[in-house]
């Protein structure tokens, strides 16, 4: 309850969970995990457990919301009531509504939305357990779910945060670091285009510190991008095996 974490970085420069500042948490990604969705992915990043599903392109009701020249991309980021320490009401919070927006805008640049005029694509993200950095892990998973659904895309979007804890710039903050740390910079990247599609920040950083954190987050994105591609390949190979 009111446990006090004295130090987030120990004398050896290691973090609470033993990581080095530039080290990501263990990440497990799986693509195509839900049978009903057109595309889906599951990610474990540290204790984060997140499912993303994509439905569409599909018809849009009511019709006057449809766009004549592109698909309408919709996104819902949602946390399970049991995903956090104190039970969360299932009604969408202001935080969830904001994150749904920035996640959608992080994925939009990667898609050819003009291919499917008058339709909608729905992205549903469910956080089953939250442990810091859920918006980034959600983007990472949702981009794979879009790929799994066969939505044409320019590049995958990989996301990762960096921040400052105890005056040290570290990557991929876990919950305790997020809460007790002094800054958090979540970033999403389309690596092949060097394109930042999400960038938020809260905290207190000098220009230099920001630049360091920003670059560390970008490096994290690139590592995660590799894992994304492996997860896609794993599914593709499995499918081929099944088909043969």
């Amino acid at each position: 309850m009111n446990e006090k974490i004295e130090k987030l970085i120990n004398d050896k420069g290691l973090r609470l969970d033993g990581r080095k500042p530039e080290e990501l948490r263990p990440i497990k990604i799986e693509v195509g995990v839900l049978s009903n969705a057109d595309g889906s992915a599951y990610i474990q990043q540290g204790k984060n457990k997140i499912l993303a599903a994509v439905y569409g392109p599909k018809e849009l009701h009511p019709k006057h919301l449809a766009l004549p020249d592109r698909t309408v991309l919709r996104c819902r980021y949602h946390m399970a009531p049991f995903s956090v320490q104190e039970r969360k009401s299932p009604a969408p919070s202001r935080r969830e509504i904001e994150l749904s927006k920035v996640i959608r805008e992080a994925l939009e640049p990667s898609l050819f939305l003009e291919y499917y005029p008058r339709t909608a694509i729905d992205i549903f993200i469910e956080v089953l357990q939250a442990d810091g950095g859920t918006r980034c892990a959600s983007i990472t998973a949702a981009s794979l779910a879009l790929a799994d659904a066969g939505i044409p895309m320019r590049d995958l979007v990989a996301a990762c945060a960096a921040g400052k804890v105890d005056d040290t710039i570290v990557v991929d903050l876990m919950d305790a670091e997020d809460k007790k740390g002094t800054a958090d910079v979540p970033v999403a990247l389309m690596p092949n285009f060097n394109a930042i599609t999400l960038l938020q920040m809260d905290g207190d950083l000098t220009m230099k510190e920001f630049e360091k954190a920003f670059n560390m987050a970008l490096e994290g994105c690139r590592k995660i991008y590799t894992l994304q591609k492996e997860a896609l390949k794993a599914k593709y190979l499995n499918v081929k095996e099944v088909e043969e």
């Binding site: 049978s35 204790k47 399970a80 009531p81 049991f82 104190e86 039970r87 299932p90 009604a91 357990q129």
Partner: protein, 263 residues
Amino acid sequence: MSSIIVRVKQKQISQLVSKGKRLDGRGLTDYREIKIEQGVVEKAEGSARVLLGKTEVMAGVKLEIGQPFSDTPNEGVLTVNAELVPLASPTFEPGPPDENSIELARVVDRGIRESKAIELEKLCIEPGKKVFVVFVDIYVLNHDGNLIDASALAATAALLNTKMFNYEIEDGEVKIKPGFSPLPIRKHPVAITFAKINNTLIVDPWLEEEQTMDARLTITVDDEGKICAMQKGGSGYFTPKQVLEAAKIAKEKAEEIRKKLNW
């Protein structure tokens, strides 16, 4: 799927059932494979993930300290909620709970409550003032039919997995002590759901059977073979004979499942 294919498939399902067969090879009273994994959400006091064939349901339990109801001042409070989150099915929509998720939650709730599965009287901290509130949140992740039975299994499995922190009362305040105790559970209600197709009863319908069925009947049975909850659903009906037949089968299937799960 186009509606013509749907209708052809429904006809096929219906004809097979009348011959005692099912599209997926099961017998009329066979369940799909049940897989249960407990403790999947470490941040919850209890959790479980149930696979019933391809139907996937998660349940999480959170404990909070709250007020008892005025007519049961010495008992903890049970609250069951179900979310049909839209990633589970193209027919689920975001928004506040609809009649389907409310019915699902209430049927699961009645099974637990009426069988007195939780020893609620042990969850009283200070009579009339402070008790534990047990939140059971059911989260449907993939809908391939028979959500009630899968959800009931997930709820019970999550309750069995639930740890309560130890505490003592000091000056009227709850002080947390080290260690945990299991949530006191005395019963393991099992819900058995029937579909009526072509005037024949089958158990554990999967999605396409649900789309074909005339009506649905759920019978929840406790460890002693007593019925603790029933719910008819759907726009069709049952004959009295079918109801009594279903009750008999439900008792057997519940025992069978409980044995398989060591409950």
